[in-house]
């Protein structure tokens, strides 16, 4: 990796980390949704700063250049984040369904209750 590439990757991963931490601090992202992002930026940061590990992984996965390894990891992590979201969205869909059903049923109970009360008067 050239010095240029290294500096750019460093700046990018540090910015990502700072942005995510900033958003969590301002409560724009909940902690449970930020951990994957933080993991990504720390991993990329580690790979850049500890260059030998990057070379080792590059050799291990048979990539052409260390830069490819970085891209690959970034890409894999993005897929992971998306799968994570799909799981969460499915869970939310289910929760929204249950809440809406409950609201519907409870509203009917309340209406019935009011009607009966008026009849009693």
């Amino acid at each position: 990796m050239t010095l240029h590439q290294e500096i750019f990757a460093l700046v990018a991963s540090v910015s990502l980390l700072l942005i995510i931490l900033g958003l969590v601090r301002k409560r724009k992202i909940k902690e449970e949704y930020s951990w994957l992002w933080i993991l990504i930026s720390i991993t990329i940061l580690t790979l850049i700063l500890w260059y030998d590990s990057l070379l080792f992984i590059t050799c291990l996965i048979g990539a052409e250049t260390p830069l490819t390894t970085l891209f690959l990891f970034g890409f894999l992590f993005l897929i992971l984040v998306n799968i994570h979201y799909s799981v969460k969205i499915s869970k939310f869909t289910d929760q929204v369904k249950k809440i809406s059903q409950k609201i519907g049923l409870l509203t009917k109970e309340v209406e019935d209750f009011k009607r009966n009360k008026e009849k009693d008067k």
Binding site: D94, V96, K97, S100, Q101, I103, G104, L105, T107, K108
Partner: protein, 240 residues
């Protein structure tokens, strides 16, 4: 016939034009039957017309989909401890005359669920070519998997007993369109399924709850659901 122990569920989404007429027709045929319309987040006057016609209404705050609306009805029936359940669509596709037959069948025949089949009836039903092909395909698939002849797995015109109710209020029940997958699932759980002839008409209202879905997505999703049934653990037996 005693109808006190039964509830009819009608999921409805923007059916203000059809709903009142259907309910009045049902009331004429089965005066004592409790009718629950599940208004699936309609933006029109579905709720008002259903109530005026004498039905009970549960109104969902948002549009959840046909399956989830039905399930709301199942949950209501479970709480209110109904023994038998009927269900039909609100768009005028299902001929109310057959409700009586369905109810009688679920009470007397040895079955946990009776599915009204439009293809067993002498009156012919003519859907579009692509729908017809899909229906035939999934009917054959269901038949070969559960080794029992099923002609109309898409039918939403059904009667069931309390045991199925407990099963259908579970999380697995699909929010969109319960179909062949649910029948296979029921069979795997050990429930007894039967079909009987009913008459269905093409939907009067074009934007009915059944139309509009993309056939390819639907076929793909159905395959996936059926595959998943076999990858998951066998569900408990007979709603116990």
């Amino acid at each position: 016939m005693d109808t006190k122990d039964a509830l009819l569920i009608i999921p409805a989404y923007n059916e203000s034009k059809a709903i009142g007429k259907i309910i009045i027709e049902i009331k004429n045929q089965l005066p004592g039957l409790d009718i629950l319309v599940v208004d699936d987040g309609s933006s029109d006057e579905t709720k008002k017309y259903a109530q005026q016609a004498g039905a009970m209404v549960v109104s969902l705050p948002i549009n959840l989909g046909y399956g989830a609306a039905l399930q709301t009805g199942y949950k209501y029936a479970q709480v209110k401890k109904y023994d038998y359940l009927l269900q039909m669509d609100a768009d005028g596709q299902h001929e109310p005359k057959y409700l009586k037959d369905l109810l009688e069948a679920i009470k007397t025949k040895k079955a946990d669920i009776i599915i009204g089949s439009r293809f067993l009836s002498k009156v012919k039903y003519h859907p579009s070519l692509i729908r017809r092909l899909g229906m035939i395909f999934f009917a054959k698939l269901t038949t070969s998997i559960i080794k029992q002849k099923i002609t109309d797995p898409t039918s939403g015109f059904q009667a069931m007993n309390r045991r199925i109710l407990n099963f259908f209020t579970d999380d697995f029940y699909p929010s969109d369109y319960p179909d062949a997958d649910v029948i296979i699932y029921l069979h795997r759980a050990g429930f007894r399924i039967k079909e009987m002839p009913v008459v269905m008409y093409p939907a009067s209202n074009k934007k009915s709850i059944h139309s509009g879905f993309k056939p390819l997505y639907y076929i793909f999703k159905m395959f996936l659901s059926i595959l998943m049934i076999f990858l998951r653990k066998r569900p408990y037996k007979k709603g116990e």
